[in-house]
């Protein structure tokens, strides 16, 4: 279509720019983009905002990062650096420029690594490798502590310092392994597996801080699986407080740093052991004192018992019993004698009453026949001329019946 030469003016620059701006800013895709490129024309004026151009082989894009977002930036930016930026497309109307308002910047590759991290994490999580029920208790007082880390790194030095300070009684076995680079994952797996053969009480898997790429071996599926299937409980202390690796999720315990891992592995310290020993010592002495007291009081009561049953006491009591019996016997005897005396007196009186001689005193006589000495008490018993014998109170004489 040919533009008309005499058409009337429809737009001001501002209105048109505003129109373009609206067009771009209602586009959902453009308001949430990740874009990759190389930094050029980097400028950080005193305002604190950051301005640069993001380029690739075929195009360039103006970028701004406001001061508040720039303050959170961990990565030191410089020209030529390959980065990935997140932000939204907008229009700077005064300059007539569209540009990217950035809110996050990260090094190239981190995004894909992160995607891989999330994918692997979801997969292993679904398999149950990170389940809480799988976590085992870390022994409070380990005799043997296994360590998997680089034999030259700061992590090892930190760990040994912490263990030496807290529990030098322990024995440490280092299974050295590179902790970054392509070699690292298989070597870490090998170290974990060979330490398992020696059955230490706990294994520390550690590495000092570094970039996300440096820590990547601890997100390797092989290593994560080795951690999960270790028979010995594993404490994972990789990087710094803010770094999370998949090994952290698979381990029985996550420590923020290697030093913290060593501390978590040595919950019982020398101070506590010494305290425990003192307690035992005290208990030992106290129970022995109790036992001695028990025995001595048993002895005292035996002594009392002995006195109670001693022969002199027995003899005394027998003597008393004898006295007692003798007394009772005497009383009984006296009583019986009295009784008998009484009885004899009775007999005597009765005998006296019956004495025939007393009757003679009163003038009666006892008459017997001389021939047969039979007592005569009836007239018929005698006839004339019978010779009889008469007894009176003071003597006797013979007579003849007329």
């Amino acid at each position: 279509m040919q533009p008309s030469l005499f058409a009337s003016v429809q737009w001001t620059v501002s209105a048109l720019t505003k129109y373009i701006r609206d067009l771009l800013e209602v586009d959902v895709t453009l308001q949430d983009v990740w874009v990759q490129g190389e930094i050029s024309n980097l400028s950080r004026p005193a305002s604190g905002h950051i301005y640069f151009t993001l380029k690739d082989a075929g195009a360039s894009l103006r970028c701004v990062m406001w001061r508040t977002d720039a303050a959170r930036l961990k990565l030191p930016l410089q020209d030529g650096m390959a980065i990935e930026i997140h932000g939204k497309i907008g229009v700077y109307e005064v300059g007539g420029q569209y540009q990217l308002y950035a809110d996050q910047i990260r090094p190239v590759g981190e995004g894909t690594l992160y995607q891989e991290f999330l994918r692997l994490k979801a997969m292993l999580e679904a398999e149950g490798l990170f389940d809480t029920e799988r976590k085992r208790e870390i022994p409070a007082f380990p005799k043997r502590i296994g360590i998997v880390t680089s034999s030259t790194g700061a992590a090892l030095r930190d760990i040994l310092t912490a263990i030496r300070r807290r529990l030098p009684l322990a024995e440490v076995i280092l299974a050295p392994s590179p902790v970054q680079g392509e070699d690292a994952p298989p070597k870490l797996v090998e170290a974990i597996e060979s330490l398992n053969q020696l059955k230490p009480d706990v294994i520390l898997l550690a590495r000092g801080g570094g970039s996300i790429e440096d820590l990547w071996a601890f997100n390797d599926e092989r290593v994560v699986r080795a951690v999960a299937s270790s028979e010995v409980p594993i404490i994972c202390g990789v990087g710094h407080e803010t770094d999370f690796t998949l090994c952290d999720f698979a381990a029985d315990l996550r420590a923020p740093t290697p030093t913290a891992a060593a501390e978590l592995a040595t919950q019982t310290t020398m101070t506590e052991l010494q305290g425990n020993l003192k307690t035992f010592d005290l208990q030992l002495t106290t129970s022995m004192q109790d036992i001695l007291e028990e025995h001595s009081s048993a002895l005292a009561s035996l002594h009392d018992g002995l006195r109670f049953f001693s022969p002199s006491r027995r003899i005394q009591s027998e003597r008393q019993r004898l006295d007692d019996v003798a007394h009772r016997f005497a009383v009984a005897q006296a009583h019986r004698l009295a009784l008998e005396a009484n009885q004899i007196e009775g007999f005597r009186k009765r005998l006296e009453a019956l004495n025939p001689l007393q009757v003679l005193e009163r003038g009666y006589a006892i008459v017997t026949r001389q021939a047969d000495e039979k007592l005569i008490s009836k007239i018929k018993q005698v006839k004339s001329k019978d010779e009889i014998h008469v007894r009176v109170s003071d003597g006797d004489f013979n007579a003849t019946v007329k």
Binding site: P168, P176, Q274, L284, M288
Partner: protein, 79 residues
């Protein structure tokens, strides 16, 4: 009554062994009836175990070994 390791000389016991025996001796003295002679013998053994443990704690020095393949060697720490 703890007897198992009482035949062993106290000096040959590890910290764990000594502590374990000490623990059982304390429990035995606290809870079981026995003759005075036996109690005294246990107490003396207990005292020797306490001394043994204290000595081990006092002299404890971290032993660091390195596992290479299947062999353990002393690990030389860089200063």
């Amino acid at each position: 009554m703890p007897k198992s390791s009482s035949a062993k000389s106290v000096e040959s016991l590890s910290y764990e062994q000594a502590l374990k025996e000490l623990e059982s001796i304390v429990a035995a003295l606290e809870n079981e009836q026995r003759s005075l002679d036996e109690s005294m013998a246990l107490y003396e053994r207990g005292q020797a175990l306490v001394k043994r443990c204290a000595k081990i704690l006092d002299k404890a020095e971290l032993k660091v070994k390195q596992l290479s393949g299947e062999t353990l060697t002393d690990f030389e720490e860089a200063e």
